[in-house]
């Protein structure tokens, strides 16, 4: 629904950009002078209905306000007087002007239309307004505090998080960040009959042969045969050393960033294939699901930043060179030395013939074939692990890390901007005056008591907006254009926050903003503040003839008839069971209650024919 255009004749300006509903505000003295402009407004095809609010004593209507389309609210005294239309009893009002509230009320399109319709049933289309309203305006100090709290939440320091990255719904991210095991198919990295496979097999066979030869050692085995065992052990040691060198060299020389990494690895007999499900688009899709899931659950943004940075840190490739140092640890030089220069079988006769079993056990241990086999398998497993995690997944890990880091940077920027803007709002609100005394304030008081809930709703709304702010960046991330992902972010955030500020001021916190996705906390707030308010119920059910604040002076009361037309309205969020029929549900959440239109006695509305400029 389009907003009601307010045209204040007292400011002497030309009509603003006209729309379907125009609210003209003027004082009674200047009404006649506005003849020309009023005619202009009335004759515009853009304008569907015009409602004139005339403030001040002695109502004189110009010719432009003649005929069927005349809709005038006469406010004799904006401070008003408490008046019971049925009994005629009157009492002093709150002594503050209610003009701003009346205009605020009438700029709600639903109320505007209802008042215009109501005036249609009243003679001369002219009435004096009176009301019993409950205000739902959030007290400035409460709002200021809520803004300041939310700003603090967004501007807080990024929490440190050094645990493992966990994303239960993702499949690629846990693997890339090292919190899940590498897929088995990636770990089988040797090309059968490739270079490293051959080296491995040879070393394996040599160790096996040496072990077999050692197993064949018998009491009567002659010295030449024992020497042959030593030769086998030396050959096994040589093959193991060769394999270790090949692994070390591969780890040092190859990096996933090399252009020809695939060819080099294939030439060395190591598989190089980009695994399925780890493409750029899939990774970004998982990241997106994770981030949007967190946003939907309204988790803390600073925590999300920490989490994404953690993912970025953990998924960044280490570089295979860093693992080269593991080779001498798995297969130490001492082991190779022992294999290269194995000790002879004990030569003393007593060891050779008397303590034969003990000597054999000692020799078997000294020849270190068990550790050699363990080292060989350890080297193979190291190479296979590094091949999978650093070479095959290298590119995917870089992408994950960079995308997560870019997202973290975007979110961090959003946090800073939100915190700064909300701090500004908080300061601006703190300078506002308190609510008007012309209204029943129970709802305002209730809102004040629920500052915590209010903060949750506002924080939730802002978190809802984050998903929209990140939206345009996802495609850039998918394409790996990390620097483009933040383009226009600041402007988007600024624009949305501006809209949200307007929303809070004009429609209230109980209405979900356009970008909002959730109502967590909002309904509870509405229930607690509006629905449970006895004053809201009383104001909505108020009899039109009962005591109300009539916006006129003491002397003007004699010009009013003792009957009234009631317009009942309330924010649509309050809608529920048990409400009286005929309530106008407004999108704005500032006021609920009854507005009564009291017709004037015949002859009171005098038409001023003196013309323009009189």
């Amino acid at each position: 629904m389009n907003p009601v255009v307010v045209f204040d004749l007292r400011k002497g300006e030309e009509p603003p950009r006209l729309a379907g509903q125009v609210l003209v505000v003027t004082d009674t003295g200047r009404l006649a002078g506005g003849q020309r402009v009023l005619q202009e407004v009335f004759s515009s095809r853009l304008v569907r209905s015009v409602l004139v609010v005339a403030l001040g004593p002695d109502l004189r209507l110009p010719p432009a306000l003649d005929g069927e389309s005349r809709r005038v609210l006469w406010v004799g005294d904006p401070r008003g007087i408490l008046w019971n239309a049925d009994t005629g009893e009157a009492a002093h009002g709150p002594e503050v002007s209610s003009e701003a509230i009346l205009i605020d009320l009438l700029t709600q399109p639903e109320v505007f239309d209802e008042v215009v319709n109501g005036l249609g049933d009243i003679p001369y289309g002219t009435a004096s307004p009176g009301w019993r309203i409950v205000a739902g305006r959030i007290a400035p100090e409460v709002l200021s505090q809520a803004f300041s709290d939310v700003a603090g939440r967004f501007g807080g320091p990024v929490q440190q998080d050094t645990g493992a990255f966990a994303a239960p719904l993702a499949t690629a991210l846990p693997v890339l960040s090292g919190s899940a095991d590498l897929p088995a198919d990636l770990l089988d990295a040797f090309i059968p009959e490739g270079r490293v496979d051959r080296l491995y097999r040879r070393a394996h066979e040599q160790v096996d042969r040496a072990v077999r030869a050692l197993d064949d050692l018998r009491y009567f085995t002659p010295a030449p045969a024992r020497h042959a065992i030593l030769d086998e052990v030396i050959a096994a040691g040589r093959a193991l050393a060769e394999f270790r060198d090949a692994v070390t060299r591969l780890l040092t020389d190859v990096d996933h960033t090399d252009e020809d990494v695939g060819e080099v690895l294939t030439a060395h007999g190591v598989k190089f294939a980009t695994p399925a499900g780890m493409g750029h688009a899939e990774i970004v899709a998982e990241l997106r699901a994770d981030v949007e899931g967190a946003l939907a659950e309204r988790r803390s943004l600073t925590r999300l930043v920490a989490r994404l940075r953690l993912l970025a840190d953990q998924s960044a490739p280490i570089g295979s060179a860093a693992f080269a140092g593991d080779c001498p640890r798995i297969c130490p030089d001492e082991l190779l030395n022992a294999l290269h220069a194995p000790p002879e079988f004990p030569a003393r006769l007593i060891d050779r013939f008397v303590y034969w079993r003990r000597s054999r056990a000692w020799w078997r241990e000294q020849l270190s074939l068990g550790p050699a086999r363990t080292a060989l398998d350890g080297l193979r497993s190291l190479l296979e692990r590094v091949a999978a995690s650093e070479w095959m997944l290298g590119e995917a890990r870089v992408h994950t890390s960079d995308a997560a880091r870019t997202l973290a940077a975007s979110l961090s920027e959003i946090c800073a901007q939100v915190a700064a803007t909300l701090t500004d709002w908080s300061k601006a609100e703190a300078g506002q005056a308190a609510a008007s005394a012309a209204l029943d304030e129970e709802v305002t008081v209730r809102l004040r008591d629920r500052g915590g809930q209010l903060r949750e709703v506002i924080a939730g709304d802002v978190v809802d907006a984050v998903a929209g702010w990140l939206e345009p960046g996802w495609t850039s991330l998918e394409h790996g254009d990390y620097r483009d992902a933040q383009l226009g972010l600041e402007r988007r955030v600024e624009e949305t926050l501006r809209q949200y500020r307007y929303h809070l001021a004009h429609r209230g916190v109980q209405e979900r903003p356009e970008f909002g996705t959730g109502d967590t906390g909002r309904q509870e707030l509405v229930d607690a503040v509006w629905r449970q308010s006895q004053q809201v119920v009383r104001a909505l059910r108020a009899a039109p003839g009962g005591q109300m604040l009539q916006l006129c002076g003491d002397r003007d009361l004699s010009l009013l008839l003792r009957r009234a037309h009631a317009v009942r309205f309330a924010p649509r969020a309050v809608r529920g069971q048990g409400n009286p029929p005929g309530v106008v549900w407004t999108r704005s959440g500032q006021y609920a209650g009854t507005l009564r239109l009291v017709p004037l006695r015949p002859g009171t509305v005098e038409e001023n024919w003196s013309g323009d400029g009189a």
């Binding site: 440190q160 940075r309 840190d313 280490i318 570089g319």
Partner: protein, 326 residues
Amino acid sequence: MEPEPLDFNSPDGDPVGWEVEAEPWQDPFERRVTHLATGIKLVQRRVPRSEGREREYLYDLLETEARMGARLLTLLGRAYPAELPRLIGYSLDVEEPFVLLSDYRGEPVSRYSGALLITDQRAMQVSLLRAVRILSACGIVHRRIEPATVRWDGSAVQLTDLSHATLIGNRRLRMGEAPYACPAQRQGTGLAATSDDLWSAGMVIYRTVTGREIADLPDLSATPALQPINDVFSGSPPSAQEMLARLRAPDPMRSLSVEQDLGLEEGRAAFDRAREAKQEPVAATENVTRAQPVIEEEGGRLPWWARWLPLAVLLVLLVLLWVVTR
């Protein structure tokens, strides 16, 4: 901005008179100036009169900056690396002494905390370690590598502020704070070494890459990609070359040649000659400003044999005792 004259000594000690356009001294210690004839932008670092009165060591820091700048220029010559600040000139014997340095590049690296992409992280690490390696080849320890003195321009770092630098092998002074200063430097024990700078560089790298605050030793288990820098924080740190090799980066000293010590001596001599020539007329004030030198190597250092003297005396006594009681 009005043009103003600026008189100083070139690094070789020759007097130079320039006309420059200068920004106002928003920071009383530092401002940007533009050489009008060439349009070259420079940084002028000075000790303001009011500050120097209360903190005389500031003059020594400024002199160290000039001395180290001159040393680097002499040693590195034409192939001056982008990673180090380049001394353009100095004027130390005036009421408000200053040094002129080449303009800063990029922004302090703290601005990029936790936001560098992997290629940039790598380039930043390599560039910072290159700077440390070049300084070490020139015999210098920076002693103040921290986020505020490291700048990043998207392709290379620039290490600024040589005012706390010293020569390798000089006794360590108690200086700096955790986490960027290594424990030995904080305690002031042992001799200044490149490992001090490597420690600080490692901390800067950790802070910049992860964006995490650190109080003391970082926990590298959550950042596997930084494993290669892990042992700079250990008792037996690797050399800068080794660190570069781990990052598959070439040793910069293969392409840069450090001039022989002969050249260094000449450069130093030129600097000292220029200083002396300037100092003679103001010898009296010089004594005042250098009453409490901060750079320890210049004051109170004992001859090399002095520390062994007690041991030698003890040994002689023991031998005497043995001879007598035999």
